[in-house]
Amino acid sequence: MEALMATGIGWVTACGLYLMLRGRSFPVVLGLTLLGYAVNVFIFAMGRLAIGVPPILREGVAIADPLPQALVLTAIVIGFATTGFVIEMALRSRDASGTDHVDGQEPRR
């Protein structure tokens, strides 16, 4: 399970980074979103992985760490807000400059 999680997080991060380095605003937004997902799962994994264990404290029962789950919840909410904003910003920029290139101008050839 650890290997699956690690490769999964790594793969999604790599895809996110690749897309973030593109020149057009839409892939960049997608890349940011992917990076956000990878980071969220990473935070979750940092609370240590355990299968079928509740995050509720009871005597003598193994528990999962509840704090990273709370952190992930907050991070997801903030991620949604910022993603929505960056899409709107990219649309405005496209509208003002007439190109969807992140520099606000077509690359000179």
């Binding site: 973030m20 980071v39 935070i43 355990a50 704090l67 990273p68 952190l71 910022t82 904003f85 992140v102």
Partner: protein, 534 residues
């Protein structure tokens, strides 16, 4: 029974929040076109915003007076015990930063009320949200809420940055937003790594636990801390993460740029809190983690910033580069890792924030009076108020460059005195070199702007009759604050000395935040393991 006095530490966050909500409910006159001075709703919004900032200043000063004798005000939200709940902590350093926020916010707000706030929707509400984020970042007592308040102030700053819209602002706005979102992702990664090896995010708790993390685990913990340094360095515009700043700050409107002068200082503050204290001396295997990195990076930032200022083509960009150079100077003082150097850093931080904010406002005042040339550094028609604006530029420039008797000089002397050992040579060379080239750059800019005049073409419209009092008043406020730093230099120095001392006292901080019964965090996977937690 808690009185209002006990709730004081949370007010710097709640007051702007309540004001912003009220402002949103009030509306902003429907985003009328520029020149909406007569707009009743906008006028009301201005007054509400101004009163809120004045009240915020009163709260910040009250907190400063309370912190001045060394009291740590701890506010536990919902009365949850410290390492589990959210704690706000106001010590001398936090109180100083809070006062600085309000002292910058007031002139920026008055300047914006001179017409900038009518160039887009909801300027005042966003301004208040930005203040909420700034104040929150300075009072929060744990790492995750530092992230949350970073996001609050950043989301407000994204919108303020493109306030007034226009192609240039959006062009630099999109990369600014994308870079900051990437930095936020790194922040979360670094924070998660720190949590994984310490089991806590509370700064007081971290300061106790980081020293106890055994060496094999500490390697990954340090990787997390270094990631955090990348994030804070990006916010503070440290080399090599500074390239976004001059363009962004030059493209945005002047009052927003003046407020943004604070944003780099949030990064500096976070470096001091996390890397200076938690991973500072006495952190066991992780002690002095960033010492080999911070000073060289900061000195390079200062040198490059001032070279950028020499090469800048417009006055606003020049001030942006000076901002980078001044951050380099401050962080160099942090990188010396002694309380004397830290107190010098704080003194210089306060001064440079005031002066950089004033110069951003001034850059626009000058640009507005030069017709089509704007702030570009080339000969153009004479400005309407050469004596006044020229004197203000001279004052600001002399203080940034560090000429006596201005506070910039005092701050630099403190930094140079604190530089000891082999690093001293480099610090002296860079700090003095930066001062000299700052003077050269500003002298060049000033002589072109004020002396290299071209006669006014007969058909050209006169460039206004000079700035209105509402635009000049903020300049005078900031200059007065700068001069006040000279007059009261000695009490301020005593205060920052005490603040630097207090920051390094892990035990007292932990005692105040966590109390006697310092809770054990339950780490289920560590049960029965040696060396985990306490």
């Amino acid at each position: 029974m808690m009185t209002l006095w006990d709730h004081l530490p949370v007010l710097p966050v709640l007051l702007p929040l309540a004001t912003a909500v009220a402002l949103l409910a009030l509306g902003d006159g429907g985003g009328a076109d520029a020149g909406a001075h007569g707009n009743r709703v906008l006028r009301r919004a201005r007054w509400l915003s101004l009163l809120s900032v004045l009240a915020g200043l009163a709260v910040a000063v009250a907190l400063l007076l309370r912190a001045a004798d060394g009291t740590l005000s701890v506010y536990r939200l919902g009365a949850w015990p410290a390492p589990f709940g959210i704690a706000l902590v106001v010590d001398r350093l936090s109180a100083l930063m809070l006062v600085l926020v309000q002292v910058i916010a007031l002139p920026a707000l008055v300047y914006a009320s001179g017409g900038w706030d009518a160039h887009g929707r909801h300027f005042h509400a966003l301004f208040q949200f930005q203040l909420m984020g700034l104040a929150g970042a300075f009072v929060t007592g744990d790492l995750f809420n530092l992230f949350v308040f970073f996001e609050v102030l950043l989301i407000a700053s994204y919108v303020l940055m493109v306030h007034g819209q226009g192609r240039q602002r959006l062009r630099f706005g999109v990369p600014y937003v994308v870079l900051n979102l990437a930095a936020s992702a790194l922040f979360l990664v670094g924070m998660a790594l720190v949590y994984a090896f310490t089991g806590t995010l509370n700064l007081a708790d971290l300061a106790l636990r980081v020293p106890q993390v055994p060496a094999p685990d500490a390697a990954v913990l340090q990787a997390g801390a270094m990631l955090l340094l990348v994030v804070f360095g990006f916010k503070a515009a440290l080399l090599p993460l500074h390239l976004w700043l001059p363009n962004t700050y030059a493209a945005t409107s002047a009052p927003v740029a003046a407020l943004f002068a604070l944003m780099t200082k949030v990064g500096v503050y976070a470096i001091l809190r996390v890397h200076g204290v938690v991973f500072g001396s006495g952190a066991g295997p992780s002690a002095d983690l960033v010492q080999p990195w911070l000073l060289p990076m900061a000195l390079a930032t200062g040198a490059l910033g001032v070279l950028g200022a020499l090469a800048a083509g417009t006055l606003a960009r020049l001030v942006g580069w000076l901002n980078v150079a001044s951050v380099g100077t401050i962080v160099a003082a942090l990188g010396l890792f002694s309380t004397a150097a830290w107190s010098a850093a704080l003194f210089y931080l306060v001064h440079s924030t005031l002066v950089v904010a004033a110069l951003f406002l001034l850059a626009e005042l000058v640009a507005a009076q030069r017709g089509d040339a704007g702030g570009a550094l080339r000969p153009a028609s004479p400005v309407a108020q050469p004596l006044l604006l020229g004197l203000l530029l001279l004052l600001g420039g002399a203080s940034v460059a560090g000429l006596p008797p201005l506070p910039g000089f005092l701050g630099k002397v403190m930094i140079l005195q604190a530089a000891q050992g082999p690093a001293a040579l480099w610090v002296w060379a860079v700090v003095l070199g930066v001062g000299f080239f700052t003077l050269v750059g500003l002298a060049r800019a000033g002589s072109i702007l004020f002396w290299a005049e071209q006669p006014l073409a007969p058909d050209a419209a006169a460039c206004g009759a000079g700035a209105s009092p509402r635009l000049l008043a903020p300049m005078f406020m900031l200059v007065a604050a700068t001069l006040a730093m000279v007059v009261w230099a000695s009490p301020i120095k005593r205060y920052v000395d005490a603040a630097a001392q207090q920051v390094t006292d892990r035990a007292a901080y932990a005692q105040a935040v966590l109390g006697d019964a310092q809770a054990q965090t339950v780490r289920p996977f560590r049960a029965g393991e040696a060396g985990g937690g306490r």
